[in-house]
C-alpha cells in the first residue's frame, strides 16, 4: 500500500479481524441483533455506519482540543445526532426513495454504541486522518459481521438472499423443500443473531488463541 503507511493500514485492517468492534470490543451488538434478519438491511446499515463513523470521527478529532472534558459525551452525541439528521433531511428533499429505505436506520445509527465508542476511544486522542481511517476500519469490521449474520439468518430463516429465493418455493414445495426441508422461523428472531455472533467469536478465538482472556 503506497498511499498508507504500515501503521495507518493497520488502523483499517485491525478492526476487520483481531480488534473487531462486535466480536472483540463488544460494541454495536444491539443493532447487530435488530436488523440482521435480512441481508439487504445488514448491508444498508453497514454503509450508513461507514459514512457516519468516518465523518463523525473526523469532526470529533478536529474539535478534540476545544471540547470540555466534562461534557464530552454530550458533545459527541450532538455531533452524531445533527450529522444524521442533516443527512436525513437532505435525502428527504433530493432522494426521497432512498430516504424511505434508510429512515428506519436513522434512530439505530444515533444510538449505535460503536460510534460513541470510537469517538471516545480514538477520535478524542488522535488526528483527523488517523481518526478517519479508524472510523472506516471499524465500520467495515462491523459491516462484515452484520453481513455474515444476515446471510445465515436470511438463508436459514426465509430461504432467500437479498429477497431472492435460493432454496426453492416453500409453499409449492420445490427445490430443497421437496425433500422435506423447512425454513427455520426461529432464525428470524433476534436471539438467533446472538447465537450466530457467539459462533463467530468461537471460531475466531479458536483460530487466534491470543484473543482468549484468562
Amino acid at each position: 500500500m503506497g498511499l498508507l503507511s504500515k501503521k495507518d493500514a493497520k488502523l483499517i485492517t485491525d478492526p476487520l479481524t483481531d480488534n473487531n468492534p462486535i466480536t472483540i470490543q463488544v460494541l454495536g451488538i444491539c443493532s447487530a441483533l435488530a436488523i440482521t434478519a435480512e441481508l439487504k438491511a445488514s448491508l444498508v446499515m453497514g454503509i450508513a455506519v461507514l459514512f457516519v463513523l468516518g465523518i463523525g470521527n473526523v469532526v470529533i478529532s478536529l474539535m478534540r482540543n476545544i471540547i470540555p472534558s466534562k461534557i464530552r459525551i454530550i458533545v459527541q452525541l450532538i455531533v452524531v445526532a445533527s450529522l444524521v439528521i442533516i443527512v436525513d433531511q437532505v435525502l428527504k428533499a433530493f432522494a426521497f426513495e432512498l430516504s424511505k429505505t434508510l429512515s428506519v436506520f436513522i434512530g439505530l445509527i444515533i444510538t449505535n454504541c460503536i460510534i460513541m465508542g470510537r469517538f471516545e476511544a480514538f477520535a478524542l486522542g488522535n488526528g483527523p486522518w488517523k481518526s478517519f481511517l479508524d472510523g472506516i476500519g471499524n465500520a467495515l469490521g462491523y459491516a462484515v459481521i452484520l453481513i455474515i449474520v444476515g446471510f445465515f439468518r436470511e438463508l436459514l430463516g426465509s430461504g432467500t438472499l437479498f429477497g431472492i429465493p435460493v432454496l426453492g418455493d416453500p409453499i409449492e414445495k420445490t427445490g430443497v423443500y421437496s425433500i422435506g426441508y423447512e425454513n427455520n422461523g426461529f432464525m428470524l428472531m433476534p436471539p438467533m443473531a446472538l447465537i450466530i455472533v457467539g459462533l463467530i467469536i468461537w471460531v475466531q478465538r479458536s483460530r487466534n488463541k491470543d484473543l482468549i482472556e484468562d
Binding site: S69, K70, Q89, K92, A93, R153, G157, L188
Partner: protein
Amino acid sequence: MAVNTDKNSYTILFAIAMVVVVGSLLAFTASSLKPNIDENKRMEKQQNILYAMGINGNEGSGDITFVSTDVVADEFSSNISEQLVLEYKDGKIINQYTRQEFMDSTDEDKGIEPYLIDIKKQQTRAKEGKSRYLPLFVGQQDGKIVYVAPIRGKGLWDAIWGFVALDKDMIVKGTFFDHAGETPGLGANIKQRYFMDDFYGEELLTDAGVFKGISVAKGNNDPKNEIKDDYEVDALAGATITGDGVSAMIKKDLKLYLPFFQNLKTKTN
C-alpha cells in the same frame, strides 16, 4: 492550547455556543428544505393512493413500484374521479362533501385537498369529541367503481398507515401499507408485495352485512391465501405486534366507513 478546557465558565460558554450553532444549523436546513420535502410527501401520498387502487408500475413478482413522480399528478387527476369527504360523529355520517365543497370551506381543518387530510389530526379531533373528516377516493378498477380509504394505527415502534381499496360490497381490491420505523426484515415486511397482495379479495363483511374486519393471523392454515371469506390473512414471522397493529387499524378505521357503504347498498337496491 491556551484555553483551560476544564474551567466551569469555559464549559458553560462552550455548551451555549454549541447549542446556538447546532440549533441554527438544523433550523436552517429544515426550513430551507421544507418546500422540497413537502412536495415529495404530496407526490408520495398520490402514489400510495394510486398503488392501492392497482395503478402502479409493478412488474412480475418483485418489489413494489409506484407510478413515476413525473406522471403521478396527471395519473391522479385522471384516475380519481372524485374525492369525497365524510363528516363522521358518534357512529353516524352527518355530512358528505365533494372535493370542491370541502376546499371552498373556510372552517377549521377544511379548505385543503381531501387527499392531504391528516389522519392523525382527525383521530385527535375525534378524541376531543369533535366530528371527524374521513376522505374517500373514488376511482375505477376493471370497469367497476372502487373506493380508497386511508387507515392509520400503531405498529411495534412507531406509526403504521395505509390505504385500502374497496368495492361497493366492502371486498378488498388492493392495499398499500407503510410504516415509520418497524424492524427491517420483520415488521417492515408489511410494505412487501407478498403481504399486501394477500389482502386482495378478502371480505370485510359477513353475508348478513356485519363488519368483521381482517385479522393478520398466525397459523390460519391458509398460507397460499386461497380462502377469501375467513377474515384472515397469513401473518409475518417474527412480527406479531406489527401484524396486530395492521389488524387493529383495519378494524377500527374502515369500520367508520360502514354507514357510507350501507347507504350505497340501499341506494342501489
